[in-house]
Symmetry: C2
Subunit: 554 residues, 2 copies
């Protein structure tokens, strides 16, 4: 037998079942490198859950191998799980300046100190164990985004992270296509590429086109301008600032994340604001309406955001005036359509004119469309391809795109989270899967909310709860007090006296029968009470509240 061939294992722990919680593990020999550690927002069924992160069991089991986290950019779906990972395994973090600045804010919120942060820039190369990691500039909807070329003796991998191709980006630095081409010539064994926009034909428009629309709108507007955008889209904010400056408007930032992120961006040189342009939201009313531009959060209709509060007249400092021009510089993320629409309606009812993406070019995507994805595949010319960042149908479509370019079906790997791709000089093949899944974070609890808790929450949310308190005599086992009935989330009790009295009578009768039959076992009493009440309530209301009989002894 020959010596076992060295392999690079590529293990996506997140990002392949949905757009979100991107998290890929690269393992070679005794070294593990993690690229991105993101979170996702909970599904509608995950009641009360704050965020979702990937199952990290595999890393915890192999904690002594984990050497570092490399981050592609500073969006939550790429950095949101870093605190949870660092809490388990404290390793250094590598990334560009803005990315690490945003991670730093996050670590402070989580009260995590003593993390070694290594600022790198595109073109830098970092050697760790058997890995050589190279940062490659890409364009995206946040500055300072990079892809990684990941080299090991077994194989070379290119991981695009989130990207688009922008020949005229705001910060002046287009994606480093030449480097991707060079790597392609040298030979790439595996490409991992962003599938977010794979269903859109064509080429994503340049960020600078949005600036042209802003210029046009600002030049003609006579009212106040209120623009909602993602705080992290620093280039977008820069273009708003520029348009305001050119057209004699002061700028006020509104919303906690807008204020925080723009501060980090200014401090690190990513956002340039002319002297004297910025004013406080409290001073907005001291200027004429046509000299004001408010930049705010809330472009996704988030109910607690500054824009949503303005739309409901619940903002302490900012009210919508008749004739205000509100621009939603974004497109709704799937699932947010209804909240966005609600905010638009409320704004219009208060007299605002609202411009959103379907009306004017006030937003472009940060992700590559089909032609850009083809360009990436054609430059990198990978031997094997693993579409990432997207749910199954996106990955499948991206795979089909690759096969249209002539790639052999056997070299296209549509994987699931926890699947393992083993890459070596002799090719790529699937290995034995590792544990994977979604871990729900609720408050401080990581993973303590599971299916039983969610099932109870769902039941409680749909039909509420009824508690029956019965006190039995210690000596005779007979009922000495109760039944008392308490309900929450079931019916409005004051208007349902008849129903609640009926419920009490049903329970009393059930108890009488039990006493007659000399049943003294608590579990039997509880079940009987529960069943009789359940039937009564369903017949009278067609509802199934949770019924909790509580027995005490006196």
């Amino acid at each position: 037998m020959t010596r076992k061939e060295q392999k690079l294992k590529v293990i996506p722990l997140g990002g392949l079942d949905q757009i979100g919680k991107n998290f890929t593990v690269f393992e070679y020999g005794n070294d593990i490198i993690v690229v991105d550690a993101g979170m996702a927002f909970p599904d509608d069924e995950m009641l009360g859950v704050d965020v979702v992160i990937p199952d990290m069991t595999y890393l915890k089991k192999n904690f002594e191998k984990v050497r570092a986290i490399f981050v592609t950019h500073g969006h939550e779906d790429h950095i949101g799980a870093i605190p949870y990972l660092l809490r388990e395994i404290n390793v250094p973090v590598y990334g560009t300046k803005l990315t690490l600045g945003l991670i730093d804010v996050k670590l402070k919120e989580h009260k995590l100190g003593k993390v070694k942060m290594n600022v790198k820039k595109p073109g830098d190369v970092v050697k760790i164990g058997g890995f050589t990691m190279e940062l490659i500039r890409v364009n995206h909807s946040i500055p300072d985004a990079v892809a990684y070329a990941i080299k090991t003796p077994a194989a070379t991998v290119v991981h695009t992270g989130d990207f688009k191709v922008d020949f005229t980006p705001i910060d002046g630095e287009p994606i480093d296509l030449a480097r991707f081409a060079e790597l392609g010539k040298e030979g790439v064994d595996l490409l991992l590429s962003d599938s977010t926009n794979v269903k859109r034909p064509g080429f994503t428009m340049s960020e600078s086109t949005v600036g042209e629309t802003f210029e046009e709108i600002f030049r003609h507007a006579e009212s106040r301008i209120i623009i909602a955008s993602f705080a992290s889209n620093v280039d977008r904010v820069q273009q708003i600032v520029n348009a305001a400056y050119m057209n004699g408007r002061k700028v006020a930032f509104s919303g906690r994340s807008m204020v925080n992120v723009t501060q980090v961006a200014v401090e690190n040189g990513y956002l340039k604001i002319p002297e004297g342009l910025l004013i406080d939201t409290r001073d907005v009313d001291r200027y004429p309406e046509n000299e004001i531009c408010i930049v705010t959060t809330g472009s996704q209709g988030e109910p607690m955001s500054a824009l949503a509060r303005m739309s409901k007249s619940e903002h302490r400092q900012l009210q919508i005036h008749d004739g205000d021009l509100v621009i939603l510089s974004s497109s709704p993320i799937p699932g947010n359509e209804k909240s966005v629409t609600k905010v638009i309606n409320n704004l219009m009812m208060r007299g605002a004119n609202v411009i959103y993406q379907s009306l004017a070019d006030v937003h472009v995507s940060g992700h590559a469309c089909q032609e850009e994805l083809k360009l990436m595949l054609s430059l990198v010319k990978p031997k094997n391809f693993m579409p990432v960042h997207g749910e199954y149908s996106f990955l499948k479509t991206h795979g089909e795109l690759a096969s249209q370019l002539g790639m052999d079906q056997n070299h296209i790997f549509i994987m699931e989270n926890g699947h393992v791709l083993e890459v070596s000089q002799s090719g790529a093949k699937l290995g034995k899967p590792v544990p994977s899944g979604q871990i729900m974070v609720d408050g401080l609890g990581v993973g303590d909310v599971g299916n039983i808790v969610l099932r109870d929450r769902k039941r409680l949310s749909e039909d509420g709860l009824i508690i029956i308190v019965i006190t039995l005599s210690k000596d005779t086992g007979k009922v000495v007090s109760g039944p008392d009935i308490v309900s929450r989330g079931f019916v409005y009790v004051r208007e349902s006296e008849e129903l609640m009295n009926g419920a009490r009578i049903v329970v009393e009768k059930a108890l009488e029968k039990l006493m007659e039959k000399e049943v003294r076992e608590w579990s039997s009493i509880k079940n009987e009470v529960k069943d009789s009440l359940k039937d009564y309530l369903y017949q009278n209301t067609k509802r199934n509240p949770m019924i909790l009989p509580i027995i005490t002894e006196a």
Copy 2:
């Protein structure tokens, strides 16, 4: 003073805050006619609520005036509230044959008998009290849809209902544009027109274009074909049946509403199925794959629908085979995007090829786009205009469309539910609003779920519930048993022993202190226990479960 001028009051009780629960009241002298009585689906915040209907207080107060319900077509958002209205006020119902057939099914479900149903056809005129009601054929995504011309001595109104303009409809009868034009010439005081598609430029494609796509797909398919569509879109089902017949495929209907509605449609002559074409879903596997077409419900990704169950391999008779061609002949209703995507992913994971609207022309809308809306406005030439069927921003946009056509802003009425428009020979003006709002239906309860119940459900759904049971001595007022702690939907108790023990200790300490201070009042004890536990839990979990202290006496 002159004698008071006779007025026609037009009162939308639903449909102006959202797309759904369309419901308009027309009042002239001592007569009231209701046009459509629809329901809507609950918002995300209306936990556990089944459907929403408009507040009918105004009709209940004026019940002796109500003469009849006229219905435009058989969709739920136009007929869903009829049982609730008839339960309060039993009046005759007028509409076309299919519409009344579908209402009949609904009344049987609600066990409402003795309703007088009057089948009318387009062109028919019905005189009731001071009203003359004329049915006018329109096109829509269900056969037999009509608009109404509503004439009273005070004013003539045209109410389009839902409509589109289809010159080549499947049943061969286009919208009666000539009649709308004629009415326009005679003079129309007020137009109420469908705003659902007002944000889409152009002209909605003909239903027959979908048939051409089906023909093309059926001709080339070699696998089974599974098509999901709305059951009520009988013309769509007809086209599927035709394509199947022409290409040698048997048809099986799957899903309760598909089976029920197609039966009503066949019985009333709206759906024609060639002899021997229909087979039972149980017999599907007895035919070669390329001779099968399954028509199913679930095009909106409804979790309990036949298609969703197939996609999760939970359907008793139908499994997805590798290579099956699944067509979603629909577009997702806002809010359903995520469920639809989930079904598509699951189908693809089981090997199906999935075609949906963005990939091919397998769906057209049933509502008029901008050019059709302009056509309607231009033909009817109303003196006054009230856009209906849509939330504020839709109505506003429809109003702007009318003013582009030269209509005076003062004659365009962007109304809210419960607003009253008084129309007479001297013009139209707003009257005093009447009670309006949303009534939530949960099981058998109509309106018994209100804000308090919803707030409790929300709280319970997010962080669950903790019950503390304490028994106090009747004689001394001291704690004789407990505290016992029960939780639901909070944490997985088995894995949170430490937390729950800590909670017990916190409550015990609070009780000790209270006993020391000789506090014996139950409300004080409850509050103190609640507050101390609340703080403890929030510090340790950052969650806020509902806390219910229960005190019994022994």
